[in-house]
Symmetry: C2
Subunit: 146 residues, 2 copies
């Protein structure tokens, strides 16, 4: 069997110093949110992050979660995924690039990476006269029952 796709390895970079270096204050809500994102293995949405943050600090507000996600996205510290039929979901950046397969029954997100597909995308864009800035590849499927 040929190995078409590899499972990307997890990562856990420290963004606090990056924020500090960019002149951005390390506040209590931001610390909490960064910790949540650093710990999790899944792709939570803003509301889910808010709920997890509430457990730690009851006074945190949903607006702050939204604002922080936006800030972190602009800094390149996280990636935003707008999977279909739902709110944006987030994950820490800093790991290897990967794409996603979404389990339509459970909502689970499975990560994969295909160098061959990445390469083909480049070729296609070049032939069309374009440079790719970024891309989105999402497979929506159901567990094969055999």
């Amino acid at each position: 069997m040929t190995k078409t796709a590899t499972k990307p390895v997890p990562r856990k970079p420290d963004y606090e110093k990056a924020l500090r270096k960019a002149g951005i204050r390390i506040t209590r809500p931001r610390k909490i949110i960064l910790n949540i994102l650093g710990e999790t293995e899944d792709h939570p949405d803003a509301l889910e992050i808010f709920r997890r943050a509430e457990q730690i600090d009851k006074s945190i507000s949903l607006s702050t979660v939204y604002r922080t996600m936006k800030l972190l996205e602009e800094m390149g510290a996280i990636h935003r995924h707008a999977f279909e039929g739902g709110p944006s979901r987030f994950e820490q950046a800093g790991g290897d690039h990967h794409d996603h397969l979404i389990d339509m029954d459970t909502g689970d997100v499975i990560e994969f990476r295909s160098d061959r597909i990445e390469q083909l995308q480049q070729e296609i864009a070049r032939q069309l006269g374009y440079d790719i800035v970024h891309h989105r590849l999402e497979l929506y499927g159901r567990r094969r029952k055999d």
Copy 2:
């Protein structure tokens, strides 16, 4: 030079009889919207379809456009594309499957098709134990200036 991607050919099926067969009434707004979708070569959003429809019948409402897009989507007569940072955009179904490259400067949508990528997606899903129901591949780029 190897041909990595081909440009899909356009098509113009007649959905009125399909609607009728499904027991769905062919109303004036639906006729107009179907004609607009049948004529256009681009990927308009609901508001744009509404504006084009208004030219033909001043009394049409935006809700009806939204409702009709939903209906046609459920029937499989059109495809909805939620490109990033904007409202859903639509196109008639019935042609060959293709994916999209979005020009980030102009918003233009360029269609392409890569059998190799389609095939790799299948292999990846199979290896992960899934059947693909559908997928989304969007390249976001800028015209190469050389």
